[in-house]
């Protein structure tokens, strides 16, 4: 889904550096300002850009957002709930001599953390959903990022898709032979799945390396030309808006 949108979104004609600038600006605003309201505003702006400008379906965006939000929710619980004898709590319960409660400081920390996380995640989703990985790595190379880092990024990205394809097909094969029909069999099948996926990933990486070597790989992956033209006016506008937002965020 991520890759589909990266190649077929409404902002596809923009140069990747323009999209990278927007993302970087949003992330800097979030980092500089300590106010949750600013971070939450950044989240709303990027969500609007993703759904409105890039034309990603709201349903799909919410689905993709659900995964980091789920992780965030688990983390928030650990932050919000404290245990300490005798501390003032908004809500508390006493068991075995300990006071388990939700403290006001915990709520404030959780509030700030969730706003920042949502803001950063939405900024990264904006970049991922509007920029194919090949263009992103080419753009990073033009910014003088070391080749090794961009090459590793690309190979890891591709590796994730290959691994998920292997896992999906193997789970299907296991399901067809009743591999997940109850809890005990599910555990056993999961063990086989992890082992097989690991071994398969190693085999595939060796085959990939051979395939690249026989086609003349020479230390770094070839750099593909970016098909979109950089619009200096648009880039200047993006940089100006980002800079203004950063300054305002610093003052607020």
């Amino acid at each position: 889904m991520l890759d589909d949108y990266a190649w077929n979104n409404a902002l596809r004609r923009w140069h990747p550096l323009e999209r990278l600038s927007i993302t970087a600006g949003g992330m800097l605003v979030t980092l500089i300002s300590h106010r949750p309201a600013v971070a939450f505003s950044v989240f709303l702006v990027f969500s609007a850009l993703i759904v409105g400008a890039a034309r990603v379906k709201l349903k799909d965006f919410l689905y993709m957002l659900s995964w980091p939000v789920a992780f965030l929710a688990i983390g928030i619980i650990a932050i919000v709930i404290s245990y300490n004898p005798g501390i003032p709590c908004v809500l508390s319960v006493e068991t075995f001599g300990l006071t388990w409660g939700i403290t006001w400081e915990g709520v404030q920390t959780a509030h700030q953390l969730s706003a920042r996380v949502l803001s950063m995640v939405s900024a990264m989703y904006f970049l991922c959903l509007t920029t194919p990985i090949v263009e992103l790595t080419s753009a990073l190379k033009t910014l003088r990022m070391p080749d090794i880092i961009s090459d590793i990024m690309y190979i890891m990205y591709r590796g994730i898709y290959l691994l998920s394809e292997t896992v999906e097909q193997t789970v299907r094969a296991q399901t067809l032979r009743l591999g997940y029909s109850d809890w005990k069999r599910s555990c056993s099948s999961f063990g086989y799945l992890v082992t097989f996926a690991w071994v398969d990933a190693i085999h595939r990486s060796r085959e990939n390396t051979t395939a690249m070597l026989v086609r003349g790989l020479n230390c770094t992956l070839p750099d593909l030309a970016i098909s979109t033209k950089l619009s200096p006016a648009r880039l200047l506008l993006v940089c100006f808006v980002s800079a203004a937002a950063i300054v305002i965020a610093g003052m607020v």
Partner: protein
């Protein structure tokens, strides 16, 4: 006259992949019990998608599948029952054979079926023998060749003793000897009453093997029937983007130039044509041709 019994009936089935890509569109077909059925079509016709819906892996957005005259039950017990009766050999054995050794992989299905240890051992032994892979029993799976993995994948499905076996392009990646070996095993299973369903785009293979044909094009079924119906007009295949098998083209050419009599039945395989030529008395034209040779 005995009524045809269908192991699967597909009624107005549609399935859409994520991203609004149509996999199947209003598919209607029946798979007869005890016969060798082939589902044919070009690449992207929806053959594999149809197999996945028959096993309950893909749930249709519209329509239904009847298994043994009852609608598929997508609950856990329902799917467990379905998958104990219907086995699927996938196109790529690399992801279907996943255990460390061949024995463990073939024993995987019977173990999940809750059989006792000695029963599992008997099943594994029988299944590997059935596919001619007994010598591979202790071999680590990563060291198997593609053809060997194909055999082990089939053995893994056989070990569950299904009454229906679905095979997705089983001949792809196999050499001629491998194909012959595989199909002789399949014919042996068929003689024991197993219903076989195969997808392929190889018309020559399908022509020589199948009893019943289902032809698909762009996600929908365009024709289905017995071999006897299709053999009356093999050029029907042109309408569906397929070519008639080589043996019928050769047969018609020889018929046209008078080398063979019209009474000769349509052959299914080139060797049927050759043996018919060897046993039939030569026609007048053939005698003249032979006489004219130095």
């Amino acid at each position: 006259m005995t009524k045809e019994v269908y192991v699967f009936e597909v009624q107005d089935l549609s399935y859409r992949y994520p991203g609004q890509v149509n996999g199947l569109k209003n598919v209607n077909c029946c798979i007869p019990e005890g016969k060798r059925t082939v589902i044919m079509g070009q690449n992207g016709a929806g053959k594999s998608t149809l197999l996945w819906t028959l096993t309950g892996v893909l749930r249709p957005h519209q329509g239904r599948v009847l298994f043994q005259e009852k609608p598929l039950d997508y609950s856990k017990p329902g799917l467990t029952y379905l998958r104990s009766r219907v086995g699927l050999v996938m196109q790529n054995p690399d992801t279907q054979v996943f255990c460390p050794t061949v024995y463990q992989d073939v024993a995987y299905g019977p173990t999940n079926s809750g059989l006792l240890k000695h029963e599992i051992e008997d099943r594994v032994k029988w299944a590997l023998q059935a596919v001619g892979a007994s010598h591979l029993v202790e071999r680590p799976v990563p060291f198997l060749s593609f053809g060997e993995k194909q055999k082990v994948a089939l053995a893994g499905v056989l070990a569950m003793r299904p009454s229906v076996i679905l095979l997705d392009e089983p001949a792809s990646g196999l050499d001629a000897a491998g194909v012959e070996s595989l199909f002789s095993e399949l014919d042996r299973l068929h003689s024991q009453g197993v219903t076989l369903v195969m997808t392929t785009h190889d018309i020559d293979l399908a022509w020589s093997w199948a009893d019943y044909f289902i032809i698909m094009d762009r996600g929908t079924t365009v024709w289905e029937g017995d071999f006897s119906e299709l053999s009356q007009d093999p050029h029907l295949l042109f309408e569906f983007g397929l070519k008639p098998p080589v043996v019928t083209v050769v047969h018609e050419s020889l018929l046209k130039i008078g080398f063979i009599p019209p009474s000769l039945p349509r052959p299914r395989h080139i060797r049927d044509l050759i043996s018919a030529l060897e046993t039939e008395p030569p026609s007048k034209k053939v005698r003249e041709w032979i006489a004219s040779r130095p």
